[in-house]
Symmetry: C2
Subunit: 388 residues, 2 copies
């Protein structure tokens, strides 16, 4: 049976080269890197290589820290909660700014911080699904401890003006964190060019393994630990090092960076081909201008076609898509990003996200176009809510 | 070259059967389990199997929760910090009791909680390296929010009277957490027999992969999240599920439980053989009575032989041992557990931990006895601090 995976914003296939480099660290080189004997030290060269690949991938400097975590959810929780302890509970600030379309790892953490008395501003997005830089500027006060705005949105692929927002935060002397999960590996992420204080990323979004991610920390600045303990990672993040995961993430970062041009030419071409074809279906629209999106993503609304019904038809034909964030895909509420960009409630129930990767082939796109069009015709025929 | 791994309390080889069951979840069944399509749902049977293996392994009931985390350090941090938020910051308690030989993931977290105003009692251990149950009872007050005492010590293998401590906490209506990292897979851990509220464990200590662990929660009782976000694990621990890690940890738990009798007979026999032989060396002693230890562990002091020098000689002969917790093994301070059981400072610098596993062979033990004895002779000859 034909199977086409177009849900790469939820997770990605592990690149077979990444799997190969991880494999020896389960049953052969299984030592604890913190041990003094050869079973420990024989893991060090691969770990050093991996850390170098991460530094090079983000263009981090030797003065910066990149700390390995278990996922971007941990990285995001870490920054927000550390800023709470460092700047709010033990400081004179009380305010955090995020966008209203942040990933739940940011959004839910802020909802919880509100129960502790933190003031949180949820900035609205414009019709392109992004927060404009001047909006951030307008809401920063002398009580603002942190701004956290995603680099690219998981559902629409919308790329936020992170360079401008970083510049504003620097001028205002406010810490700036960006959830880079949907940007790293898809577009150029250069922390020398874009001066963020903190950046979260996750290996499994760029063809690395699940269960490992990281946090970039500019100038190795202080940040209370989220995981206290045995002084791993220079005392910044405790827990026995996940050697296989780190080694895999390092190579995945290198391979993703090597493929950035391919991603922005070939993956984009395939995405655009798919998008052009699907937009020929009457009464469809795609959120966010094409040039303002990551090259692999489209979120399309099809009037009169319930998103879940569409997913089901695609799935029967072996095509994996999503109605939005995988984190919330088991709940059938209206798509919050579509609501945020001003779509009406009906449209917000008709969104399908298709996200490609460098493993997506032209044949898969042709097949998807064919299946998608037939599914829309079928579903509109049986739909009560659509009349042409 | 002969290589003998006797540092199984630091980390363990991944059982090849565990590696085999993990392998398909990198490049074949790589979907996000939260996705609605077949790439997601095809991971569910293996995840269900793994969760059943974890429940069965601990003899947890359907009313209990077992939440997968990234490691026991996360589980330990989670319990302590959640209790801080739930019972101290937002409650009327202010006190936590731990032992003075807890793992750094507990100890350092408590040191940090003290900076937030929490009162922490660090209970002393007796000459066998354990906290006695009546000591716990003596220190519980009506302000005590949590008692956290390890099930077995990482350095000595000393098994704590967890059943009695759990009973005392239940009577006093105080939450009880145990760091079960060094117990699970080595001795019987049955949460019906020993009624703890929370129990932390880590896959890589029982021949599972690094980067995955868990927290058992009795009666699924409430506990603020450490990682907020996308409502994974019933909203208790967010972050994309580490499918390979979970599947591996499940089988590792089952295999470890299947091997519990072997561990307590054969591994114990090999450990005792090694211990008997090494204790023939004059002026040596082993901490904690043999019947009060996990079957795989011995911590031996050799008068006049610096622990690090001994490690180095063993390592040159291909034998991996430790001077204590791997988490602190890069620092050359006196062994804190030895200090706690009342050893003098010189002895505390001469401790070598040897920890076996079900993969340890009789030949390896014979080889180790031979190498160890020769190393002691050599090092005592060049040592200024030892005169027979």
């Amino acid at each position: 049976m034909t199977r086409v995976y177009l849900d790469n914003n939820a997770t990605t296939i592990v690149d077979p080269k990444v799997y190969d480099v991880m494999s020896p660290f389960f049953c052969q080189m299984y030592g604890n890197p913190n041990s003094l004997h050869s079973f420990g030290s024989e893991t060090h060269p691969a770990l050093r290589t991996a850390m170098n690949q991460l530094y090079k991938g983000l263009n981090a400097s030797d003065d910066d820290d990149i700390i390995v975590t278990s996922c971007a959810t941990e990285s995001n929780n870490w920054v927000l909660k550390a800023v709470y302890f460092d700047k709010i509970l033990n400081g004179d600030k009380n305010h955090i700014i995020i966008s209203e379309v942040e990933h739940p790892a940011i959004y839910s953490t802020c909802k919880w911080l509100e129960t502790l008395g933190v003031k949180v501003t949820y900035l609205p997005v414009n019709h392109d699904g992004i927060v404009e830089a001047h909006t951030v500027k307008d809401f920063i006060t002398d009580k603002t401890a942190l701004v956290s705005i995603m680099w690219a949105n998981n559902e629409t692929g919308a790329i936020f003006p992170i360079k401008e927002i970083a510049q504003i935060c620097k001028e205002k002397n406010v810490l700036f964190h960006t959830d880079g999960v949907q940007a790293v590996g898809k577009i150029k992420v250069d922390v020398q060019d874009v001066e963020v204080d903190f950046l979260s990323f996750s290996a499994h979004k760029f063809h690395g393994p699940k269960g490992v991610g990281g946090l970039y920390i500019k100038n190795s600045q202080e940040l209370s630990a989220l995981l206290h303990g045995g002084e791993h990672m220079g005392g910044r993040r405790s827990g026995t090092l996940n050697v296989a995961g780190i080694v895999g993430m390092g190579l995945a970062m290198e391979l993703a960076n090597d493929a950035i041009e391919y991603e922005n030419k070939e993956v984009r071409r395939l995405r655009d081909k798919l998008e052009d074809a699907l937009l020929q279906i009457p009464k469809t629209f795609v959120v966010t201008s094409r040039d303002k999106r990551t090259p692999n993503t489209m979120l399309i609304s099809i009037k009169g076609v319930e998103g879940e019904a569409m997913l089901w038809d695609l799935n029967k034909a072996g095509i994996a898509a999503s109605t939005g964030s995988a984190c919330a895909s088991e709940d059938l509420e209206a798509n919050p990003v579509l609501m945020a960009v001003g779509a009406d409630k009906e449209l917000a129930h008709t969104a399908i996200r298709l996200s490609l990767s460098r493993f997506t082939t032209e044949d898969e796109i042709d097949y998807t176009i064919d299946v998608f069009k037939k599914a829309v015709i079928r579903l509109r025929e049986i739909s009560g809510s659509y009349a042409e």
